[in-house]
């Protein structure tokens, strides 16, 4: 499995009435072929902006100002619009949270499906149509031949999301970015969609960036997880390590504050006090400082960096509490280097 995507310390800014606002700062993660990474965090933590930054789909007032996005060795952060057009829908495709609003209401399903197929795969009109029907069948849409002539409003939310998935996977992309694909759906439908995604992932070996706020979905789907808070990745590791051994105070707080049906009956939830800081008013040091039970004086002043720690798996954390582990890891690396050299 080769490395497919490497996002390195990207920073995304928006020009607003009140001057530039940094929405995403120093976000880094990487992804191998066929691998699934979950970006998890609360609303406003920058997970959607990160994905839109990769695709160059930010609004006109937003842009990636620092860092690099290496996709198959090519830096997307510096790619032109023409380059991106060739990549979008073809190498990287995307599905969105609201299946209701993500499909064009005045074009038929077929229209919307085939236009990407014809563009990227150079199929003729009839070929594209046939292929589109196959794709619809593949995502479990009954009566695909009929549905293809329908307008989106005739479909239920779950069906629309299936259409979105068919559309996204039709050109066999290497990477699929799914931005909260099930948030707007009912649980029984969510289960259907998650199952479908799992099945298709196995069939196509597509890498997935799955954006969600639901730790349950993370546990079901992810290989790797990046926990985001206030525009930064605060913890990144594989899914088992994260659930078995979460380290960052925010990750810990998050896990303890979610009521779940598997929780014991009389367990009282821990809640994280306060709320996410505003972009206009970011703390100078650690962004979790106000809400952290372990906050130290140092956290107020100094910015912690996302650093790997000594652990079973590769596990990076942005917190001073684990400075020692981080140091250990660095020492070990150095030592290894010395040994190897």
């Amino acid at each position: 499995m080769g490395e497919l995507l490497k996002v390195d310390k990207i920073k995304t800014q928006f020009q607003t009435e009140k001057g530039p606002v940094t929405s995403v700062d120093e976000v880094s993660f990487d992804l191998k072929e066929g691998e699934t990474i979950c970006l998890v965090g609360e609303s406003g933590c920058g997970k959607s902006v990160t994905s839109l930054s990769i695709m160059h789909l930010l609004d006109r007032n937003g842009s990636v100002t620092e860092g690099s996005i290496l996709f198959e060795g090519k830096d997307l952060a510096k790619a032109t619009e023409a380059d991106m057009r060739k990549i979008r829908g073809n190498n990287i495709s995307m599905i969105f949270q609201e299946p209701m609003t993500s499909l064009n209401p005045v074009l038929t399903i077929g229209d919307q499906l085939t236009e990407g197929i014809r563009l990227h795969m150079k199929y003729s009109k009839t070929e594209a149509r046939k292929y589109a029907i196959d794709m619809l069948k593949k995502v479990g849409i009954p009566r695909a031949e009929g549905i293809i002539e329908e307008y989106p409003h005739k479909l239920s939310g779950g069906m629309r999301q299936r259409v979105m998935i068919a559309m996204a996977l039709s050109c066999r992309p290497k990477l699929l970015i799914a931005d909260e694909p099930t948030t707007a759906l009912d649980v029984t439908i969510q289960a259907q969609i998650l199952n479908l995604m799992k099945k298709l992932r196995e069939e196509s070996n597509t890498a997935i960036i799955l954006i969600t706020h639901d730790l349950g979905v993370v546990a079901e789907m992810a290989d790797k997880v990046a926990v985001m808070y206030a525009g930064q990745v605060v913890e990144e590791t594989d899914v088992y390590t994260l659930f078995d051994n979460p380290k960052h105070p925010y990750t810990l707080g998050l896990m303890k504050s979610i009521p779940h049906i598997t929780n014991p009956d009389d367990m009282r939830l821990d809640s994280i006090p306060g709320s996410v800081p505003s972009v206009h008013n970011m703390p100078k040091g650690c962004r979790f400082y106000d809400r952290c039970p372990h906050a130290m004086k140092r956290c107020l002043e100094e910015k912690p960096l996302l650093k790997p720690i000594e652990d079973k798996q590769s596990h990076s954390i942005r917190c001073f509490l684990y400075e020692k582990e981080e140091q250990d890891y660095e020492n070990k690396k150095l030592a290894e280097k010395e040994v190897s050299s």
């Binding site: 695709m55 789909l57 609004d59 006109r60 991106m84 057009r85 060739k86 990549i87 979008r88 829908g89 073809n90 495709s93 995307m94 969105f96 609201e98 609003t101 993500s102 499909l103 064009n104 209401p105 005045v106 074009l107 919307q112 236009e115 990407g116 563009l119 990227h120 307008y151 409003h153 979105m164 559309m167």
Partner: protein, 316 residues
């Protein structure tokens, strides 16, 4: 759909009745009397009474209304009080010019406004956006008569490029060229206003659509900006544009009163003013009725166009 249209027409009927009632009673509020206007002042009271009787003006208002309504169902809009011509005939000779003038103005206005509006939305806050926005504000703010006088002064009186008024050269060859020549100035005036208004709607509707999720989807598919704008966005922004067109259509009948006056365009507007000054009630009633029918038809047309433009709307 047909059933829907039928139903809409059924609903329009009581509204139309309301319109005629209101119309009739408003006009009957008028002091002064057409008979006073048409009969020689030396006429005796008996003659006046006879005249009023002949016109049915001695009847109570509601009975006059009923009479008028009955005649209406027979396709008879009555006679002009001033020239005794059948009103239908008078209307027939004045509709054409007005529809021609407003029709051309609307088309010219839209042809200018729609592409400009799209460009503005695409290039929001660029110099062309500011230029067009400035133009549109000028268009909606300038009174037609002032602009009309201005263009007459510049293009007709100073440069002698176009005639100052009327629709044809009288007794001329009646050629298209001649009519176009007479159309240019009044159309320029009317189209300025129409385009000014439309540009703003196209721009804002386009801006609105350009921010929608499905355009992001289209972009995420790798489509070019041209296809995104003209296939995905334009069709969606048509719906509010249709609304504006629906509001504009009745202008075909009643939209050019002032401009017709300035350019002496022999249409319904001029007829309205002349009918007012000569207290020609039957003609005024007919014009108002025609205008109201146009509004109702335009509403219906708008609804149908909605359904054409937007598959989500289905009337059943």
């Amino acid at each position: 759909m047909l059933q829907y249209i039928f139903r809409r027409i059924l609903i329009a009927i009581p509204v139309l009745f309301g319109v005629t009632i209101l119309n009739f009673f408003i006009i009957n509020l008028a002091p002064g009397n057409p008979v006073d206007m048409m009969v020689n002042p030396s006429a005796t009271p008996e003659q006046l009474a006879m005249q009023k009787h002949a016109l049915g003006l001695d009847q109570p208002v509601w009975s006059q209304y009923l009479h008028w309504l009955v005649q209406l169902f027979h396709g008879n809009l009555g006679f002009s009080y001033s020239t005794r011509e059948p009103v239908t005939q008078i209307l027939a000779s004045h509709i054409g010019p007005t529809v021609l003038l407003m029709g051309v103005s609307l088309i010219v206005g839209y042809l200018i406004a729609i592409p400009l509006g799209i460009v503005c939305a695409r290039k929001q806050n660029s110099w062309i956006d500011y230029l067009v926005t400035g133009f549109s504000f000028f268009g909606i703010s300038v009174p037609h008569f002032f602009l009309g006088l201005g263009v007459i002064y510049v293009f007709a009186s100073k440069l002698l490029l176009f005639p100052t008024g009327s629709m044809n050269t009288l007794g001329g060859d009646g050629s298209l060229m001649d009519t176009i020549n007479h159309l240019v100035l009044p159309v320029a005036v009317l189209a300025t206003g129409i385009a000014g208004n439309m540009v703003r709607y196209v721009r804002s509707s386009m801006l609105d659509v350009l921010g929608k999720d499905y355009l992001r989807t289209a972009k995420a598919k790798g489509l070019s900006q041209f296809i995104i704008t003209n296939k995905h966005a334009l069709r969606n922004s048509l719906i509010p544009i249709i609304t504006v067109i629906g509001i504009d259509i009745p202008m075909l009948i009643g939209g050019a009163i002032v401009t017709e006056q300035v350019f002496q365009w022999p249409g319904l507007g001029l007829l309205t003013i002349q009918s007012i000054t000569s207290r020609d009630y039957s003609t005024l009633m007919a014009i108002n009725l025609l205008a109201a029918v146009t509004v109702l038809v335009a509403n219906l047309l708008t609804d149908i166009l909605y359904a054409v433009a937007d598959p989500r709307i289905r009337y059943d």
